[in-house]
Structures are given as C-alpha cells and as structure tokens.
C-alpha cells in the first residue's frame, strides 16, 4: 500500500498544481499557452532525465517533479506578465517562451517532441538502467 502511495502521491500533487495552472490560463481564453509550455517544459525535463539516467545508470527520482519544474520554468514569463511586465525577446531564455507558439504545427509539434522524449527516456530506462540493475 505504502509503495503505491509513494509512487502515485507525487503525480497527484503535480496533477493538482497543473489543474490549477490550467484553470488560471482558462480565465484568459489562453489554454493553448498552458499546453504549449507544459509540453515544452516536459520535453526538456525528459531529455534531462534521460541524460541523468544515461550517465548514472539510475532512473531519475520524482519524475513528476522534474516535469512540473520544466513547465514552471517554461511559463515563467507569464508570471511576469501577470505582475505587469510585458513579454520581451530576452524571455526566450525560458525555453523559447515566445517562439514556441509559432513552430509549424504548434501544439501538435510539441506533442510529438514530448512523446519522442518520453520514448527516449523509457528506452534509456529499459536498456541502460536495466543493465545496471
């Protein structure tokens, strides 16, 4: 029982935070922003997790937290916007916060990158980490 709680509790917490973020973007009819930055942040987090696992031979702990942190980093300029700071080009530092909305295919493109990064991370777990276990 406690193993299941340990496994799923972080996902529940992160899911709740994401639901709150989704609702906050909804107030602006801008839910696509939420989806873009979640997918971009998650993609980068998964790549980082794969590199970590490749180099250490261990799975990344708290994967939900990595993904949440990736999302929060990618959307940080939107916190600044709410605080009254308009978007500027230097905010591209936050995982291409602005340009990420303008790639061909838009959110479908980022969905594809996210699923590719997830597949890569799971492949690292399957090959590299399993061989170390």
């Amino acid at each position: 029982m406690s193993r299941w709680i340990r496994m799923f509790a972080p996902w529940l917490v992160v899911g709740s935070v994401e639901a709150g973020l989704y609702a906050s973007y909804g107030a602006h009819d801008a839910r696509f922003h939420w989806a873009t930055h979640l997918l971009v942040g998650a993609t980068v987090a998964l790549v980082a997790m794969a590199l970590f696992s490749l180099s250490t031979g261990r799975p990344a702990r708290f994967p939900a937290l990595w993904i949440l942190l990736g999302h929060l980093f990618a959307m940080f300029p939107d916190f600044l916007f709410e605080a009254g700071y308009p978007h500027k080009w230097w905010m591209e530092l936050f995982l291409f916060h602005i340009r990420s909305h303008f790639v061909p295919g838009r959110n479908l493109f980022w969905l594809a990158t996210f699923l590719t990064a997830l597949a890569a991370y799971l492949a690292v777990l399957d090959q590299r980490v399993r061989s170390e276990a």
Binding site: D29, H87, A119
Partner: protein, 177 residues
Amino acid sequence: MAKRRVVPARAALVAAWCGAAVLSAALLASVRLSQTPGDDVDPAWQRPGILDLGELPEPAPDLAGVDLRAGLPTAVFFADPERVQPLCGELSGWDRPPGLAAVVVAADPTSCPDDVATVEADPSEAAEAFGLRRPRGAVDTTGYAIIDGAGRVRYRTLDPLAAQLLDEVSTMSRGLR
C-alpha cells in the same frame, strides 16, 4: 550498499508511453474544444500575447475624428451594445499608463468618461478595418487594438472580457517602444 531502483517490465514502460500519449492528446483536444467565440482562429494571436508578432506592426486605418498619428500610443476598444456600458464604467476607474490615450468605438458610446475619445460607429466594421476577426455567431466584436505613437497597430485581439482585463492592456501598452 546503495539500494537499486527496479525498472518496470518493458510492457509496463510501453503501457506508460501509450497512457501518456492518450492523456496528452485528450488534453490538447480539450484545449481545442474549449475555445469560445472570443477566441482567435489562430490561437497564437490570443492574449496574453506580445507586441510585434507575425505580420504586425502595420499602419492603423483612419478612425473618424481621432488622430492616431499624433505621437501618443492609443488603446482602441471596440464594444458591442451589451458591453459598452460595463467597459466605459471600468474605463472611468482605470489607472491608465501615463501618455496612453483611449478610444471607444461603439454604436452608442455616450456612457464613456470625458477623458476617453469616442467614435460612434459599428464596432464590428471598425474592428475589421484594424484586422480583428469577426467573432463566430451573430454577435458584434468586442476587443481592442493597441496603436503605437507612430500610428502602427502593434497588438490586436478579440476580448469579450476586455473591461475586466484592463490591466493587461496597461501591461502591453508599457511594452511599446
């Protein structure tokens, strides 16, 4: 000795990937389905957007009785009959950025405060001239355009909630350079 973490079976990893694919695709579909008549066809133009994207800036069209090239940045609001009164009410208490002029285009803008210029015109037609899309359905346009001191459109959006979100107009107006 450090405890090794167990990697789930390959089938479980594949199942996790499939679950993530279904969940994320469902989330994207829900984002798409939740669009309202106030949403832009191209969601990348939605607020909270930034200035100077895509085909902008472009010269603002002429607006009867208002000089948009007088050197002052201007927020031009387009309001349907239902929303013009709430908008004018909010504009009277708006902590407008210094130097920002405001214009309301509506069929009957008489309820607007004195420091806001008004244009009596069809808001949908005027908005279309500024490049705003007509909302889906038989409703008039409500939204705004932000014009810089050189008379160029720098940002425009449909926004049925413009009256409640004047802070966003302030923020974007401060981004003018």
